[in-house]
């Protein structure tokens, strides 16, 4: 996770693959947990789906920090703000659409 201060870190030494290997391992482990939890029907559907979504959320972090170098930038990393806003909006659209389209005052039979 180079360049946490928002500027491109200058490194003269060779970049090592350590971060990438950790990231790959983490993504495989997280995926495996998801698959096992889901395919063994280990818990109730509601909490299970929440847990799966949390695990998927962790995978975003893995990709962003271990592979995509999200905090690197020339100058302040404004794109991090935009990505955060975008993530909030993405979840807002998806979840609020479900909420709206559930039609609360529907006639119930």
């Amino acid at each position: 996770m180079s360049g946490m201060n928002g500027t491109v870190q200058s490194r003269s030494e060779r970049h090592s693959p350590k971060l990438y290997i950790i990231g790959y391992a983490a993504s495989l482990v997280l995926t495996a947990i998801s698959f096992v939890l889901a395919l063994t029907h280990s818990m109730h559907v509601g909490p299970l789906v929440v847990l799966l979504t949390v695990l998927a959320g962790l995978q975003i972090i893995v990709q962003l920090f271990f592979f995509m170098h999200v905090t690197e930038s020339e100058g302040p990393p404004y794109h991090v703000v935009l990505l955060t806003l975008g993530l909030i909006f993405t979840f807002a659209v998806a979840l609020m659409s479900v909420w709206i389209m559930a039609f609360g005052t529907n006639v119930s039979y």
Partner: protein, 656 residues
């Protein structure tokens, strides 16, 4: 042969549809011949190609956007007058139901997407790089692509009127009415494809200007030193990049329904038309803020300049812009309070919608207190700004009323709603865009517009506006729905509708005065030699009018918020002028024909999809792919503008 020709003419040219079509056909043919003849006679083809069609210069692209916006304003305005003529009295037969439906659809779509959007892109392009001290936008080539996508999208949409038939289900295009079973003509396809193509261009513009503002500011221009128009552009572009994907998806899914027969929004196989409405407004409401935020920026610049005073509460102004941008994303369901979503949903979106009133109210107070203890010059930009405030106050009040969900059950789809959004979009957006046009006109073209004719235009347009739309609030309380092509005599809606139509015609006359004003000023040109005709405050006014194509010979260092005003106050304007020894070679982006060809390919592909002519669609798609691949493999995108040439230009402008 003649049978085939007649079939073609009836199906695609709609020769049995009456005199409106014939007149349009003749006008289009005459106009095209006239343009071609004029270009040939004056030997301007090369000039057109080199200077305009292949340009990547943000200033020229801005001017092309402006021209397109004004043309579309005319087209949308004629639509409006046709609608108002039909509604002037009960039981009128000027238009048939089918024609009325088409015209209100094209009126709405054109005014929002092909008038308001290019108008504000025109201002973004012309102003933002100059205001932040940049030589161009971050991605000039992409900027040209944006323009041509908008242009060809608008072309496709406008073509529908004379080739195959216009869309007729409203600019909101709600399914299942827009599905094949109810609407089999090409009109709806025209809507979907035209708006989709220009929407892709809008997304690219949003990305481009965010990158420009965040990355290309002159040294010393901290975020909190940026002019408010640049801030409003940033806010607007943030909303663009997060809202337009929703439109793209809504339109794409409806297109899939119509072209390949999926069941997203049909009445069949579990299709859910309401999901389209949901997605459409995920874009649709933020869209309103996309177009109004830049207008806020214009007002902020204009008010400060023409009261000779620093803008009041700059930080509040910035905070409110950003708050509006974010809240705008959480209010979309107020467009369908009556859809039967739960009371919890309606309450949430009602309160969120009302909350938009807080930052906008703050902005109004800040503008007022900028004027307070200033010196108010009622020039044209200031007049349109002053005209905006009462409009916005009334429109804002009715907006809060509409946001109160139980009230909305009664206003929804009534003329009360029509009056409200026209008050916001004309009083808020059109006023702002015109104020901006007047304000930056000298910077674009190097001459000022005639004030006297402009004042006629202002007063006639604005008085016409109130006469047109105030009665419509009352009509809403009388229970008149939108989109009725006619109404019976016994409802008693006749007199108010008649008054409203008179107002609409006054607005039309006001627009003609603007056209007259421009033509008159072209003949009796009052050249702006100072570069700063308004005694203004921000960086763009330190440049000559019009700005040289590299904008800044030397990028200035910014030390203050109103940098040009402060320099004038403290008599060190020379700090913002280039010094010969500082002028270096500049890499400028090369002109390219590819953005134009890419737009053309989209046009061809879109046309193929609209009529299900798949060979044509394939040809267009191949063109798109070819343009993209050629760009990917391109190496040299820039050329070197030698320092000597810059020095010579600056010397001729008397700046070094």
């Amino acid at each position: 042969m003649s049978e085939a020709l007649k079939h073609f003419a009836d199906t695609y040219l709609m020769w049995n549809e009456g005199y409106l079509i014939w007149i349009s056909d003749i006008l289009i043919v005459l106009a095209s011949i006239g343009i071609v003849a004029a270009l040939t006679y004056f030997k301007k083809w090369k000039w057109l190609w080199r200077n305009w069609l292949t340009t990547v210069d943000h200033k020229k692209i801005g001017i092309m956007y402006l021209l397109a916006a004004l043309l579309m304003f005319f087209r949308g305005g004629v639509d409006a007058l046709l609608l108002r003529t039909q509604l002037a009295q009960p039981g009128e037969h000027f238009l048939s139901a089918e024609h009325y439906d088409q015209i209100f659809t094209t009126h709405g779509t054109i005014m929002i997407l092909f008038m308001a959007m290019p108008f504000l892109f025109a201002l973004f392009n012309i102003v933002v790089p100059l205001q932040i001290g940049a030589r161009d936008v971050a991605f000039p080539y992409l900027n040209a692509i944006s323009f041509w996508l908008f242009f060809f999208g608008a072309m496709i949409f406008n073509l529908s009127f004379v080739f195959g038939g216009s869309p007729d289900a409203g600019w909101t295009s709600y399914p299942p009415l827009t599905e094949l079973g109810f609407d089999s003509g090409p009109g709806e396809n025209y809507y979907l494809i035209g708006v989709q193509i220009s929407g892709i261009g809008s997304m690219a513009t949003g990305i481009n200007f965010i990158a420009t503002i965040l990355k290309l500011r002159a040294p010393g221009m901290k975020l909190m030193r940026m002019p408010l128009f640049t801030w409003s552009t940033l806010a607007s572009c943030i909303v663009i990049i997060f809202a337009f994907p929703a439109l793209a998806i809504a339109l794409a899914l409806l297109t899939l329904d119509r072209i390949i027969g999926t069941d997203f929004f049909t009445m069949y196989h579990g299709g859910d038309p309401m999901m389209f409405i949901n997605l459409f407004w995920v874009w649709g409401h933020p869209e309103v803020y996309i177009v109004v935020l830049p207008a806020f920026g214009v007002y902020s610049e204009v008010v400060a300049t023409f009261t000779r005073k620093r803008i009041f509460g700059y930080s509040s102004m910035v905070a409110s812009l950003m708050l509006i941008a974010v809240i705008s994303y959480f209010v979309w369901a107020h467009h369908f309070f009556t859809m039967g979503a739960g009371a919890d949903v309606n309450t949430f979106f009602a309160v969120a919608s009302m909350m938009v009133g807080i930052p906008t109210g703050v902005k109004v107070f800040n503008w007022l207190f900028t004027m307070f203890r200033g010196r108010i010059r009622t020039t044209l930009p200031m007049l349109w700004t002053l005209g905006f405030i009462p409009n916005f106050a009334i429109g804002g009040a009715t907006g809060i009323m509409l946001a109160a969900a139980p009230g909305d059950y009664q206003y929804h789809n009534s003329y009360f709603l029509i009056a409200h959004f026209h008050q916001m979009l004309i009083g808020g957006v059109v006023n702002g865009m015109l104020a901006g046009m007047y304000y930056w006109w000298p910077k674009m073209f190097g001459f000022t517009l005639n004030e006297r004719l402009g004042k006629w235009a202002f007063w006639i347009f604005n008085i016409g506006f109130y006469i047109c739309f105030m009665p419509q609030y009352a009509l809403g309380f009388e229970g008149m729905q939108r989109r009725m092509y006619t109404y019976p005599t016994d409802m008693g809606w006749g007199s108010l509708n008649f008054v409203s139509t008179i107002g609409a015609y006054l607005m039309g006359i006001g627009f003609l005065f603007i056209v007259w004003q421009v033509l008159y000023s072209l003949r009796h040109m009052e050249k702006d030699t100072t570069g700063d005709p308004w005694d203004a405050r921000t960086l763009e006014w330190s440049l000559p009018s019009p700005a040289p194509h590299y904008n800044f010979a030397v990028i200035p260092t910014i030390s203050d918020r109103d940098v040009w005003w402060e320099a004038k106050e403290h008599h060190h304007t020379s700090d913002l002028l280039p010094k010969v020894d500082q002028i270096e070679d500049v890499h400028m982006p090369k002109n390219s024909a590819r953005p134009f060809l890419l737009g053309l390919s989209f046009f061809v592909a879109g046309f193929g999809v609209i009529f299900n002519w798949y060979v044509l669609a394939f040809v267009g798609l191949a063109g798109i792919a070819a343009c993209l691949i050629a760009r990917a493999l391109e190496d040299e995108e820039e050329y070197v503008l030698p320092a000597e040439e810059i020095v010579a230009t600056e010397q001729s402008l008397g700046r070094v």
